[in-house]
């Protein structure tokens, strides 16, 4: 299947007469007149536009989710005080500025859901898989641009449904982002388990559709549409990461859908998949024989791979960025690929480590301990390879490089605490305490965010033909890096002391109330970091129109193919034929002319051996 035939001819045929342009003055103006605003920017089938749609929608949700964390941190840090800002945003859910517990639980639930799914899945993998797969493997677009467009729009509708759920009279879903039944199944058990929960389930179902459409497209595109010479082992590690991310999503998201469908049945059709022997609101329910633990198995069969769906793209981009800005080949390319494979396989075999204290068979628990701790091995290999990549490099401290270094630091810190939680005998005590909060926020929240920020700063010039402002980028980095540690490091101690997560107020607890001052400090830090993120948002949007213009095709002197496209690539990416690839993506070496890199499309010189 040729790449040329898979794209809509209306956008491609105009390119042929232009030939290859080395400088970017040529842009896509020549087909702008053909495309209406709606087909170009709204219902676009161009993977580059779709990726920006994912990113901007992701930014929107990150602000919403972040603001929610500010609200509940106000409650956690200052349980005695009232805040006008709460009643301004939340109305009757915060009467006289005091957050209602129902809404507190609604906020933590939606905060978790939107950050995990809408920001760190759609906003991260959706953005960069879309943007980079065709550009880095040398394809004109995705295998199916139309399904790709649908993928975004299903995501947008999923978001819309979730957003609506914030405004229903009984409040949004409030059973935690895991929404365990029976709490989430019985509207008598909690206000958030009313219509808010239905909307949550519908939104998730739509999101699964979006994720599947996207994921299948990514896999097919990577396997079938690589340009001539782009063998699998010449692909940048970003592409390997996106491939396995998509595989994880395609194999695990359907299980979440089944969990959601069964839960809908339990809620409305009188079935008992998850319900048994329940007495609630003064009456005994007729349901017997179901198991709430079944839901947890189904949920975590997605839920754990989901962690890697979030992490792998960040790992891939960090690899690419560390190598490029260290001016040195990535160390252990094959080991990096093998560890990605190892993580992908193991990701499916560890889900029940979230369920050590559900009363599961101790033998089964033992198996999951073993498999869980195995993941430490490929993860450690990756860290050592990153360290060796920057070893003896020639490091340019660009903003993306700083975020990539921060990513490695956070990944180490958060990954190591996984060794505590993955070991069931320790998890008994640490389960559902602040130790867990600290662990997963650092390892898959903040560090994935760092991978994402690194990616945005690095590929912004390719997305918009302009740079983001460096000074603001550096300020953003230092606030976020220092702030993240200040917020989450002390939480490990709270967790070791047994302080449970998802508590609205600790003041009546003899065992946990000594952390009042600390919680205040954490809340203040969280609020500062939140405003620090607005610097990024500001920088992003201002730079789209006002940023310093990119004047060379390859501003970072990188090797991968996206930097051979015009500064403003049109739909179809390359004006002339797609370049042929002759070498791997990390040929940072003496090019014989005083340069320190040889891009992938440069043919091998006589006598030169390919990597």
């Amino acid at each position: 299947m040729s790449n040329e035939t898979t794209i809509h001819h209306e956008t491609v045929h105009t390119h042929h007469e232009h030939g290859h342009h080395d400088h970017g003055h040529h842009d896509h103006a020549h087909h702008e007149h053909k495309q209406h605003f709606f087909t170009k920017y709204v219902f676009s089938q161009d993977h580059k536009i779709i990726s920006r749609q994912f990113l901007i929608t992701g930014i929107f949700w990150a602000i919403v989710g972040g603001l929610m964390s500010v609200f509940f941190r106000l409650q956690l840090g200052f349980p005695e005080e009232t805040f006008k800002v709460l009643s301004f945003f939340l109305g009757d859910w915060a009467p006289k500025g005091k957050l209602d517990p129902e809404m507190y639980y609604g906020l933590i639930t939606i905060h978790g859901t939107v950050l995990v799914f809408f920001v760190l899945t759609a906003g991260l993998s959706g953005t960069f898989s879309n943007f980079l797969i065709p550009l880095q493997i040398g394809a004109r677009d995705m295998a199916s641009p139309f399904l790709n467009m649908l993928s975004y729009w299903f995501f947008a509708i999923a978001g819309l449904v979730m957003f609506c759920s914030l405004f229903v009279s009984t409040g949004p879903a409030s059973g935690g982002w895991t929404t365990y039944p029976p709490l989430s199944a019985l509207k008598e058990a909690s206000m958030g388990s009313g219509i808010g929960m239905d909307l949550w389930l519908v939104s998730m179902a739509l999101f699964v559709v979006s994720s599947l459409l996207g994921g299948l497209n990514y896999i097919v595109t990577i396997l079938n549409m690589r340009t001539k010479g782009m063998s699998m082992t010449r692909m940048p590690l970003t592409i390997w990461a996106f491939l396995f991310t998509a595989v994880l999503g395609v194999l695990s998201f359907p299980v979440l859908l089944s969990a959601a469908v069964l839960l809908l049945f339990d809620r409305h059709a009188g079935t008992s998949f998850y319900l048994s022997e329940i007495y609630v609101a003064g009456k005994a329910l007729p349901n017997v024989g179901g198991s709430p633990i079944l839901y947890q198995h189904l949920f975590w069969f997605l839920g754990h791979p989901e962690v890697y769906i979030i992490m792998l793209p960040a790992m891939g981009m960090a690899s690419e960025i560390l190598s490029t800005h260290s001016r040195k080949p990535i160390f252990g390319y094959m080991a990096m690929v093998l560890s990605l494979i190892g993580i992908t396989v193991l990701a499916f075999l560890v889900w029940a480590h979230h369920m050590f204290v559900t009363g599961m068979s101790p033998f089964l628990g033992g198996v999951f301990v073993l498999l869980t701790l195995l993941i430490a091995i490929p993860s450690a290999v990756k860290v050592f390879n990153w360290l060796t990549t920057i070893f003896r490099g020639n490091i340019r401290f660009t903003v993306p490089m700083l975020f990539a270094i921060g990513f490695v630091s956070l990944f180490i810190s958060g990954g190591l605490t996984g060794l505590f939680l993955g070991n069931s005998a320790l998890d008994i005590h640490l389960h559902d305490t602040y130790f867990v909060i600290a662990h997963f926020h650092i390892v898959m929240g903040i560090s994935a965010f760092f991978g994402m920020f690194a990616g945005v700063y690095h590929w912004f010039p390719k997305m918009y033909g302009r740079f983001m402002n460096n000074t603001l980028g550096y300020i953003h980095f230092f606030i976020t890096f220092v702030g993240s540690y200040v917020i989450f490091w002390p939480m490990h101690y709270e967790g070791v002391a047994g302080m449970p997560r998802r508590y609205y107020d600790f003041s009546s607890w003899q065992s946990f109330h000594q952390f009042t001052e600390l919680n205040k400090m954490i809340s203040v830090a969280a609020i500062i970091v939140f405003f620090g993120q607005l610097i990024f948002v500001f920088n992003y949007f201002v730079s789209i129109w006002k940023g310093r213009k990119v004047t060379t095709l390859n501003p970072w002197n990188a090797n991968s193919l996206e930097w051979t496209t015009p500064i403003h690539p049109g739909h179809g990416n390359w004006d002339g034929p797609i370049p042929e690839v002759h070498r791997w993506a990390y040929d940072y070496k003496d090019n014989g002319e005083g340069g320190d890199f040889v891009p992938q499309h440069i043919p091998l010189k006589e006598g030169e051996e390919s990597h």
């Binding site: 058990a189 003064g282 160390f331 559900t358």
Partner: protein, 344 residues
């Protein structure tokens, strides 16, 4: 008013930031990019060292501040196993943490760009990669071995002669049940639950229920050095019996009976003396999100001597007597949550 000021302040900061960032970009153009880049690169390389130092200093300060606030020593034998394992894991991860963080920031500082340079060609090394795959593998094997040994011990069947107490969760409190003189908990059936006179749905056809004692606030009375097995259930949604001082935890799942056992080793009175805190009390926290009152789902554990326990047991009336003696009509135990829901 203060809100308005805050908004003004924040917008002001943004304006300042914007101006600073714009002027810095102008500066680049005036000074020439290459020279400016090198200068900035040097400055940022020092920030790598600064971050390393700040991180280590921060960890030390945090540790100094937090340690006095941590809970007392583990109050059960399982807890001692846990504490040992925790220290081993902390040592292993601590060593890895300090080495890798140090290398990360040190390399970043040391290998800063100093101008054009031929890249050092180091793309792989089988020997090195074998070593650093093998070391984590062996370490993991050790951690898994210690972990599984403890895990299988903690989750084994309770020792014979362990005292049995049932702990049942509901929105939003715990209910505990003691087997009474016969030492056996009778059958219960959720359809018989009634908030007025049968909190747990005891089946009165089962004679073993007649002497069972129910404590509606979930108080747990344990005996020092005597193993206790908790039989855990839930009336409505999933709860979790969290016993942080004993380092134990187990979900309470409707429709399923779960169990945990441990041996308390320090009485409440001894712990008060040890901690010097007259208010010290062992607490049961609900550790599984269960609804709006989740954070208030608290019960108290009292660890006492056998003699104290016997005396307490003597003073208790069985739940049957409490509710079926004609002179003693039970007080309706309507909780906040039930009220709220019936109002809706």
């Amino acid at each position: 008013m203060s809100g308005l000021l805050l908004i003004l302040l924040v917008s002001l900061i943004f304006v300042v930031l914007y101006q600073v960032s714009r002027s810095s970009e102008l500066l680049v153009r005036i000074k020439g990019e290459e020279e400016f880049d090198l200068k900035r690169n040097r400055l940022l390389s020092y920030s790598m060292l600064a971050m390393l130092v700040a991180m280590m200093g921060g960890i030390y300060a945090c540790h100094r501040y937090m340690m006095p606030l941590m809970g007392p020593e583990a109050a059960s034998d399982h807890g001692k196993t846990y504490d040992f394992m925790f220290v081993v894991t902390l040592a292993v991860t601590g060593i890895v943490f300090f080495i890798t963080q140090f290398l990360l920031f040190w390399f970043a500082f040391k290998y800063q760009r100093t101008g054009e340079k031929i890249p050092y060609n180091f793309t792989h090394s089988t020997k090195l990669e074998m070593v650093w795959t093998a070391i984590p593998a062996v370490t993991m094997a050790v951690l898994v071995a210690i972990g599984l040994k403890s895990w299988f011990h903690m989750t084994s069947a309770a020792p014979k002669g362990a005292m049995q107490i049932e702990m049942v969760g509901k929105q939003f409190n715990w209910i505990s049940r003691y087997p009474g003189a016969d030492g056996v908990l009778g059958r219960r059936n959720y359809t018989l639950i009634n908030d007025n006179d049968n909190l747990l749905g005891l089946d009165w056809n089962d004679k073993k229920n007649m002497d069972d004692i129910i404590i509606p606030n979930g108080e747990l009375r344990l005996i020092k050095d005597k193993p206790v097995e908790l039989i855990i259930g839930s009336r409505d949604v999933i709860h979790d019996v969290g016993l942080s001082h004993f380092r134990m935890k187990m979900d309470a799942v409707p429709g399923i009976t779960t169990r945990l056992w441990f041996t308390p080793t320090i009485t409440t009175k001894e712990m008060i003396a040890k901690t010097g805190n007259p208010d010290f009390v062992y607490e049961v926290s609900c550790d599984q999100m269960c609804g709006k009152g989740h954070y208030s789902m608290r019960a108290v554990v009292i660890v006492e001597t056998q003699a104290e326990h016997d005396a307490w047991l003597q003073s208790q009336q069985s739940y049957y007597q409490q509710n079926h003696a004609a002179t003693n009509p039970a007080a309706p135990a309507t909780t906040d949550s039930v009220k709220k829901i019936t109002m809706n």
